[in-house]
Symmetry: C2
Subunit: 209 residues, 2 copies
DNA sequence: CGCTTTCTTGAAAGCGGTCAATCTAGGTGG
DNA sequence: CCACCTAGATTGACCGCTTTCAAGAAAGCG
């Protein structure tokens, strides 16, 4: 599933909360996540945090670094992360295609998140998030039946969905109580994907990306 | 300022609210906006709308169409629009660079908007929007001193900022009353850029993009 | 000059936020 | 093996920003 582009030798490891890239510092390589999760975020001066991207196994972090653009937001490991180091230059041929597909995918995902943050309720945001993460884990070959790992704290989830941890907690409980999802100790189980899609207010034809 | 890539012959014109691209329909060309504004948006089934991108003079609409990805969201003219038609294929050489820069710019802008929609208050969102639009108009050579055109209705602004038109109206009034901006009849005047940045809760080092 | 879109205003309600305390579980060291 | 520690999850009470609903004023346009 998770296609490797480089030999096993060039690996990096990160611990939870360790920086993978710092704001403004030109990284000397970019990464393909092999194992674990990472995130990109921005902090406002008063401490408000918004997570703007999640990197799951298989994801590139970040193609645009190869375009000569230093990271404008820090990237940090959420869990233990194992990643392949790739040269920080634009590859040619098929790998170039891959890069641009990756860039354009993340653009698409962000665009969908704008809709969620701008117009969806708390419950819809959480449904959307769980759905998207399950789908991405499935595509990475990391879902088992209707279950997958989901190693985020409720605080992380709050900073993704633009809510407070307290409200995430309450809304998650409502979702559990209504039987929409099972989600505890970093493990997600989606009984009814269609119901979850509906709860997320995702129009019929829309892809999740 | 606004560098043209094609001869004058290949032009398209659109009226306000006219579709420039429809969801899922492969466009046969992509555009560089020469005059006027356009937007990309998504509609939820109950009518909620979120605008996910604005296209100002000089902007490409949309590089990723050339990557073989049909538009996942409709694009529509906000004002009268004059645009140059470009072949819907990946250019080579310098123009390719241009495309990817454009793609990566819009990615960056979206990422900043995630922060705004997720974590900023109504006043901060509006300040951020006005600031960004002024800056983009300035870079396009379309600002005159500290003023520029801003041809959006309060409803458009609401659908960009994830607010209701009513609240946009009230918040805009508050900003006018406090002397932060002058904005009426589609014309913006920013007396104090620094104050507006502060009102937008934009951390010191951050670029607007 | 009438029509339609846009802007403005008021009152009331609600969703999600804030503050603060308590409970739980995983990890550590003795 | 258990006391302790700390991060994370949970709960309750209250607050307030933003929404909703409903009218009316203003402005743009044919």
């Amino acid at each position: 599933m998770l296609s490797r582009v480089l030999p096993n030798e060039d690996l990096s490891f990160f611990r939870p909360h360790e920086f993978i890239a710092r704001e403004g510092e030109r990284p000397d390589s970019l990464f393909q996540i092999l194992e674990g999760w990472a995130c990109r975020y921005r902090l406002l001066t008063d401490g408000r945090r918004q997570i703007t991207a999640l990197y799951l196994p298989g994801d590139y972090c970040e193609p645009q670094w190869a375009l000569g653009r230093p990271p404008s937001q820090p990237v940090m490991a959420v869990t233990n992360v194992r990643a392949a180091r790739l040269p920080c230059t634009l590859p040619s041929g098929a790998n170039q295609q891959l890069f641009f597909k990756s860039l354009s995918d993340s653009c698409e995902r962000q665009s969908n998140w704008l809709v969620t943050l701008g117009r969806r309720t708390a419950l819809e945001r959480l449904a959307h998030l769980l759905l998207e993460l399950f789908e991405r884990m499935r595509q990475a070959g990391l879902a088992y039946g209707q279950q997958c790992a989901l190693p985020l704290t409720q605080m992380d989830i709050a900073d993704i969905t633009g809510l407070t941890p307290v409200h995430v907690n309450r809304t998650l409980q409502a979702m559990r109580n209504s039987g929409l999802v099972e989600f505890q100790s970093k493990w997600l189980r989606v009984a009814d994907l269609v119901a979850l899609r509906e709860a997320a207010a995702i129009p019929a034809g829309d892809a999740l990306v």
